[in-house]
């Protein structure tokens, strides 16, 4: 059924259709509307056979999900930003124990300085936590990825993180096609755990493992993620047959066939990038787009194939590996057979900074003319940075960095986001 609804509500609809049994909720923007939507469904009885638990922290949210999943229940939670970091110990634990929990991450910057707006720092900080990480480009894909996530996680006994851009997607009203309960039931079988806490068949879960077996346990987690590289595209095909649309998969390409340069990105910014590419194509530039849907496992072969004919790659990424540059670009380089020097990193949109077509067109044009630095910060206010550096040279006690920069900037009129 077609509905014009908020992204968070679309995800709540999708999760509810997956018949979760335990949902743990802790508020953090911009994820909160999702669990609010689910809580209302549980309380009203619309979502039956489900426990909605208001916990006292994100650490507890993931821990309740761990207990519920180990006891055989389909468990779900959602978080963002600081919340994801606060639960980090339990995030690693969930994957280490092989529990198929699904979690939405409404991507948001990490402080300090505190910032509620969108970038990918939160999800990227957990890229090696052992979860499958899927990134939605739009709200339809966010909805669909959740349905795929439960099946994928439960098949592999691995947790799955569905990442969607905070505010840009979670708070955007878009038309989405919501499947019927019958469609989802037919596609997603009931949860059959490989391990379960059951008095009739007692097992110990979570024992100490020493050097004699730790490597093998970790390898198996890796092997399962490698298997996901086969399942994800296969099930995207099945999903297309069952639901009638393309969603998920490892990656999406756009106008790459004859492209000399390919722009790589994740999430909602792909829309802006495609529009920019269309404009540049009209000017005769041979440029295409590679959108990564599955970031973990890293689809090394699929990315390599997609970049096989590219002479140059520009990675637009919404997170910063401080002291290095780009996280996604580092991954892209493992899949690029051309010179690593021709992979450019464009750090963009940190803390919700708007990524405009004009700015993207400038860096793409510069890249094609071989005039782009290896690492570029899109729309960085150099003068502002220079003032801050000068202040630090002049004065030992130069004061708090962020507050000084804000003072330099003066009062900024509120802008729509």
């Amino acid at each position: 059924m077609l509905k014009q609804i908020e992204g968070s509500q679309a995800v709540a609809e999708a999760v509810a259709l997956c018949r979760p049994e335990v949902i743990c909720a802790y508020p953090i923007s911009p994820q909160t509307h999702i669990v609010e939507g689910l809580g209302e469904r549980v309380k009203s009885g619309a979502l039956a056979k489900c426990e909605f638990i208001n916990v006292e922290s994100e650490f507890a949210a993931m821990s309740v999900a761990i207990g519920a999943s180990a006891a055989g229940a389909r468990a779900y939670t959602a978080t963002a930003s600081q919340g994801l970091l606060y639960m980090a110990e339990a995030v690693f634990n969930a994957s280490g124990l092989g529990l198929s929990i699904v979690m939405t991450v409404a991507n948001r910057a990490i402080g300090a300085p505190i910032n509620i707006w969108n970038d990918h720092s939160d999800a990227m900080s957990q890229r090696d936590c052992g979860w499958i990480q899927l990134f939605a480009e739009n709200n339809q894909e966010a909805l669909d990825l959740h349905i795929q996530a439960f099946r994928l996680g439960e098949e592999l006994s691995l947790p799955v993180m569905v990442c969607m851009d905070g505010f840009i997607l979670t708070h955007a009203y878009e038309r989405v096609d919501i499947p019927t309960q019958e469609q989802v039931d037919a596609w997603l079988p009931p949860y059959e755990p490989r391990q379960v806490l059951d008095p009739a068949e007692p097992v110990s879960i979570g024992a100490m493992v020493g050097p004699e077996a730790f490597m093998e346990v970790r390898y198996l987690a890796h092997a399962k993620q490698m298997r996901a590289l086969e399942l994800i595209p296969a099930w995207a095909g099945e999903f297309r047959e069952a639901f009638g649309r393309d969603s998920g998969g490892l990656l999406h390409t756009y106008r790459t066939d004859d492209a000399q340069m390919v722009v790589v990105a994740l999430g909602s910014v792909l829309g802006t990038i495609k529009d920019t590419v269309d404009e540049l194509r009209r000017d005769g530039m041979k440029i295409g787009v590679l959108g990564i849907t599955c970031f973990r496992p890293w689809p090394i072969a699929a990315v390599r194939a997609a970049l096989a004919h590219a002479k140059r790659v520009v990675v637009v990424e919404k997170s910063l590996a401080v002291g290095l540059g780009g996280i996604v670009s580092s991954n892209v380089r493992t899949s690029f057979t051309g010179s690593p020097d021709t992979v450019h990193t464009v750090i963009a949109g940190l803390g919700g900074r708007s990524i405009t077509r004009a700015a993207l067109a400038r860096v793409f044009t510069a890249a094609l003319a071989d005039k782009l630095e290896p690492v570029t910060f899109l729309d960085l206010d150099r003068a502002l940075v220079e003032r801050a550096l000068a202040r630090e040279r002049e004065q030992r006690r130069s004061g708090p960095i962020a507050e000084n920069i804000l003072r330099d900037l003066g009062v900024v009129a509120a802008r729509p986001h």
Partner: protein, 335 residues
């Protein structure tokens, strides 16, 4: 079966006379009915109070729930010594997740049981004092506040024993640990710090809070059984001496635990909905010195000259416990 009050004690030792009880009320180590939930062969130290407490507590919980029990365990001695895989001493479904999240994991298990219509399956969470009063405190308070159907058992040995005897917020004043060294003008742990977790649990207004020691296993078992008669969050705080961390002889575990109770250092009581409903009276009051002296963690109090002032402060704390909980009968108050 009514719980028969015990009135007879063996002279001198205060040991509850099992022989004086009806056979089906005795707490017997080798009882054929015992489930051996924490089975033999684990790697606890000789005289480990925590192993003893866990064995009796979990067996009693198994009995009370008709063997429909799942346990969540915090990181710590109990977790490490019971599951050096491929060996496990647990004959019940058991999960260890992290140090600080055990109460939340138990909440998740209880939620799963509820949603699956298995209200007959009950959940126990257990941890040491570090995992309970310090790192697991947030999750524990959340579990209490939501009144989730979980019995949380804290085995309190007053320090982080698994990592080498470091101070926790349950370490008593003056006690020497690896991080409250017996040096300086005021050796050992400082006065005026630490958490009274049974009182904090009671302040949450949860249905049942109790304390117990491994010196009175029959009382401990009765409290576990009683706790299983309630739905909602329950808290059992068990005093478990640690020969390694406390520096007492391993055969003295039960004696030390009994002295903690008989001095008033550790008040043994039960509370329902935030109100104390019963206390275990002190049979014959003994000075705290009798409790402190056998433990090397307090050895610096008995040097030359002895720290009578510090021992006096500990005595004041014990006397306050006795007054607060009414631990002495009028008769027992006499010298």
């Amino acid at each position: 079966m009514p719980f028969q009050p015990v009135k007879f004690y063996q002279t001198g030792t205060f040991t509850v006379g099992n022989r004086l009880l009806a056979e089906d009320e005795r707490s017997v180590q080798s009882n054929m009915q015992r489930t051996n939930s924490l089975n033999s062969g684990h790697r606890a130290c000789q005289g480990c109070g925590e192993a003893l407490g866990a064995r009796y507590a979990i067996d009693a919980a198994m009995q009370a729930t008709n063997r429909q029990l799942i346990a969540a365990n915090a990181t710590g001695c109990l977790e490490v010594f019971s599951t050096p895989y491929p060996e496990t001493s647990w004959q019940i479904p058991w999960i260890h997740s992290l140090f600080g999240n055990t109460a939340s994991v138990a909440t998740g298990i209880a939620a799963a049981m509820r949603v699956k219509g298995r209200s007959d399956v009950r959940v126990v969470a257990q941890g040491g004092d570090g995992g309970t009063t310090d790192i697991g405190f947030g999750c524990l308070s959340g579990m209490f506040e939501r009144n989730d159907d979980v019995l949380y058992i804290c085995y309190d040995n007053g320090a982080y024993m698994n990592t080498g005897v470091q101070r926790s917020s349950a370490t008593p004043p003056a006690a020497r640990t690896a991080t409250t060294m017996a040096v300086g003008a005021e050796p050992g742990n400082v006065f005026g710090q630490g958490k009274d977790l049974p009182a904090i649990a009671m302040a949450h207004g949860i249905p049942y809070v109790a304390t117990a020691t491994v010196a009175e296993l029959r009382d401990l078992e009765a409290k576990v059984r009683r706790s299983m008669g309630f739905r909602g969050a329950r808290y059992l705080h068990i005093f478990v001496p640690c020969p390694l961390g406390w520096g007492h002889a391993s055969q003295d575990t039960i004696r030390i635990a009994r002295l903690a109770k008989e001095t008033g250092v550790f008040p043994v009581f039960e509370a329902e909905n935030g109100e104390v409903v019963s206390v275990s009276k002190i049979r014959r009051k003994v000075p705290v010195e009798d409790y402190l002296r056998p433990q090397k963690r307090f050895a610096h109090l008995f040097g030359n000259p002895p720290r009578a002032d510090v021992i006096g402060r500990i005595q004041e704390t014990a006397d306050r416990n006795i007054r607060r909980f009414g631990l002495l009968d009028a008769q027992g108050a006499k010298p």
